[in-house]
Amino acid sequence: MEVKQCGWPVVSGEQKMELYLESDSQNESFARVVVAAFMARLDPTLEETDDVKTAVSEAVTNAIIHGYADKKGIVRICGRIAGSTLFVEVEDWGCGIPDIAKAMEPMYSGMGQERSGMGFCFMEAFMDELTVISEPEKGTTVRMIKNIRRESGKEQVDCAWTASGN
């Protein structure tokens, strides 16, 4: 069986993994531990591993609580390593996001007062690249890239509401 492509062009010599999970909140920790173990071969710093674990946790949690709204569904996680770059894709076939720009605004939460609305901002802060593809009633794909052991030259993202004018 061939591992499905993760949406990025194929690079020769790359390594891949693919994981399908049920949308159960207990699988959030499982997913981030799997991705952390997969990226270990790049010899990341502890901070880099923590960054990826947080970003994966945000994406998988979004798939479970927003995509499937606590109904049963499948979350697919695909990891690829090419050189010193880690690619992670988290896909669901849930309700999709009608307005991606709005969903990605800091402090926006579709779920009311109990959620921080910082999920996408954390993904942006802790990864080098973030792409969100979504279609209502079809599902959502989150693609993230992290360069390991390389200066990203990225400025620190600020997720605070004061910075967003709220």
Partner: protein, 102 residues
């Protein structure tokens, strides 16, 4: 099974967070703290991160929700025992602009 545990001291509630603070482990915190607020007239919550080694935005959601609740009651929320990675998340989220670490 890692869970949130609670200690009441006067009108303060110490919320001891588990090793992993995420959507799964935070599920019951709102209801559970509401019960303490009702029964013990809690007006201060101290979130104890001394066991916490992982946190995502679900933890931030809990802090913000409980902060708003305590403010409604004229109380406050304090933080304690954060390790450097938890500190970093709290800083990025702007939490330290409204909550103090003791």
């Amino acid at each position: 099974m890692e869970q949130v545990t609670y200690v009441v001291s006067g009108r303060s509630l110490i919320v001891q967070l588990p090793y992993e603070v995420d959507d799964h482990t935070c599920k019951g915190v709102r209801e559970e703290t509401e019960e303490y607020i009702r029964e013990k007239k809690i007006n201060r919550m101290i979130f104890d991160f001394s066991k916490t080694g992982f946190m995502d935005s679900a933890g931030i959601g809990v802090l913000l929700s409980r902060y708003r609740r305590m403010k409604e009651l004229g109380g406050d929320v304090l933080l304690s025992g954060e390790d450097p990675k938890v500190r970093r998340l709290l800083r990025i989220s702007g939490i330290y602009q409204i909550m103090e670490s003791i």
